[in-house]
């Protein structure tokens, strides 16, 4: 299963480290990463793969949200199918 991690907020040092730390803990593999500004927000987006992981999306999401709160940005993860359904015909 593939999922999209998104970080929305202010750019600052340590964001990639925080996100990749959580993902590494859950053995989730990062396959793509990009950073840019969208709708006036700093955004970092990662495509990740759960093939090597035993965790559920909800568990990873909770840990990412906590990590985000610690550094003051909004981090979440969502199933890739949600974006595919909404943005691809």
């Amino acid at each position: 299963m593939k999922a999209i991690v998104s970080v929305i907020g202010l750019d600052m040092p340590g964001i990639v480290a925080a996100v990749s730390g959580v993902l590494a803990q859950h053995k989730v593999n990062i396959t793509d990463i990009s950073q840019s500004y969208a709708q006036e927000f700093f955004t970092m987006i990662m495509v990740v793969d759960f093939e090597t992981s035993n965790s559920t999306l909800k568990e990873v999401d909770q840990d990412l949200k906590e990590a985000g709160e610690t550094i003051g940005v909004f981090i979440s993860i969502q199933h890739e199918d949600v974006f595919r359904a909404m943005h691809r015909i």
Binding site: I4, S6, I8, D32, S34, S36, Y37, A38, Q39, F41, T43, I45, V47, T56, L57, K58, D61, F74, S76, I77, Q78, H79, E80, D81, V82, F83, A85, M86, H87
Partner: protein
């Protein structure tokens, strides 16, 4: 990267800030095979069937929530209109066929009609069945079960009459059972006997639940052209043309549409309609995704996606708010009907592109008590029942969650039902009335229902009697365009 940052951020903000959710996963269950002359056996069959088919519904809905990160607010069940099951019960077979034939005969002299006697045993049997439905709903952990219904647009069966007459007891003694009565169709015309009866029944339900702001009436919808696959409550039932069982999903998202409209204050109508269409497309695709997944996990066929902008009491989640962001100062003022027409049509067009099986009511709901901005418009005396009635001719449902003084005569309630059903009958669309005469409250007083049903205010209705009109009885003939064959 498979998605652009703009796309990812748009989706995230819809869920995080704009209240995008799946409003309901509703399982339709056929109960026709549960009919039985023995009451206890029928109750057993009903409970067993509902529980066996829907036992995993709530847990599957939660697992989809977890796996996809889309909130699924309600889990619900709709069943075959219950009147279809009851005809074999001994207590109902005792009702005189002759009397009911006269009541149904459009050529019979109305002055000869006598009040039909239905025994308290027959009413008790209906209440018992409703309690079984309530039990089953509690056991499978769904918040509402719809389908304690009867379709009487052309006339009554004995069971239909019992279902209707039992409503005051049923809706006051059960928690989760919802009811709907179809009194008119474009094809058959309007059963004015039923319209008169429903006015009286609504008053009785209000009295029976007077200690809870007459809330029993909030669990009943009187329809014209009721649809067979509506996943929303209180008017949902599993039509007899439906399959054994199916999954219908109701998607919402007034907050998402409102956000788009709000950010585009200056655009012309073409652009506005186009933006709403695209947004509705995206929302419906999420519904389609969730419906497919729920259907797969439950091994129950996919039915329809209903894209209805259904407001909640959250301030951003408001249909009236969309109209006001379009440029209407207060909902109910001049321009409101046109704004709602544009909104409903654009929502339908976007939704139809997103799923081949769009059904239910699909459009925009305008339930007064559930939409805070709408309640505010009533408070400002700009939004009235008459304007709401006009607005329902261009949106999906009807007069929804309207509170009126408890002292309103039943004939006036019947008049309101007849007016609203006429709009549905003549315009070939679904309309419904969910009206609550709140006992002990007068115009302008606040009414607190709590939860999803929200808070409302007693609306004024015009003081002019239609009793002589309603007392004519009989059936209003079907409109000319019913003859399509």
């Amino acid at each position: 990267m498979s998605f652009t940052p703009e796309e990812v951020v748009e989706t995230k903000l819809m869920i995080k800030d704009q209240g995008l959710d799946v409003r309901t996963i509703t399982m339709g269950i056929n109960l026709l095979d549960c009919s039985d002359p023995d009451l206890d056996r029928m109750k057993q069959k009903i409970e067993t069937k509902i529980i066996s088919i829907a036992k995993d519904l709530s847990q599957v809905a939660s697992s989809i929530e977890d796996d996809y990160g889309i909130p699924v607010i309600n889990r619900r069940i709709i069943v075959t209109p219950i009147s279809f099951l009851l005809g074999n019960l001994a207590t109902i077979q005792e009702i005189s066929i002759d009397d009911i034939q006269k009541l149904n005969d459009p050529l019979h002299r109305k002055s000869d009609l006598v009040e039909l006697q239905i025994s308290s045993e027959a009413i008790n049997d209906c209440v018992n069945i409703a309690k079984s439905l309530d039990n089953a709903a509690k056991k499978v952990n769904v918040d509402f079960l719809g389908g304690f219904s009867a379709l009487v647009h052309k006339g009554f069966t004995r069971a239909d009459l019992c279902v209707i007459k039992s409503l005051p007891d049923v809706l006051s003694s059960t928690e989760r059972v919802c009811s709907s009565i179809n009194v008119a169709t474009t094809r058959s015309g309007m059963n004015m006997n039923a319209v008169k009866m429903m006015g009286e029944i609504i008053c009785k339900i209000a009295m029976k639940t007077q200690h809870h702001n007459s809330i029993g009436c909030a669990k009943l919808v009187v329809f014209a052209n009721a649809v067979e696959d509506n996943p929303f409550m209180a008017g949902g039932f599993h039509g007899v043309g439906e399959a054994e069982s199916c999954i219908n999903v109701g998607v919402s998202g007034p907050g998402v549409v409102r956000n788009v409209v709000k950010s585009q204050k200056e655009v012309d109508f073409e652009t506005l309609a186009d933006l709403i269409k695209k947004t509705a497309f995206k929302i419906t695709r999420i519904g389609q995704l969730v419906a497919q997944e729920a259907s797969k996990r439950l091994s129950v066929p996919f039915g329809i996606v209903d894209l209805s902008l259904a407001p909640t009491t959250r301030p951003f989640d408001s249909v009236a708010g969309i109209l006001e962001d379009m440029g209407i100062e207060t909902t109910g003022g001049p321009g409101s009907t046109a704004a709602l027409a544009l909104l409903t049509d654009a929502v339908k067009k976007g939704g139809l592109m997103a799923s081949s099986y769009v059904g239910g009511l699909s459009g925009a709901f305008i339930p007064v008590s559930e939409d805070k901005i709408m309640t505010d418009a009533v408070r400002k005396k700009i939004l009235t029942i008459e304007k709401l009635e006009a607005m329902t001719s261009v949106c999906s449902v009807g007069l929804d969650m309207i509170c009126i003084p408890g002292s309103t005569p039943s004939s006036s309630i019947s008049g309101i039902i007849a007016d609203e059903a006429s709009i549905g009958m003549i315009n070939n669309k679904t309309t419904g009335v969910r009206i609550i005469p709140v006992i002990g409250k007068e115009i302008g007083e606040d009414v607190e229902f709590g939860g999803l049903l929200g808070k409302s205010i007693i609306m004024p209705i015009k003081e002019s009697s239609c009793k002589t009109f309603i007392d004519r009885l009989g059936r209003i003939p079907a409109p000319i365009h019913s003859q399509k064959n």
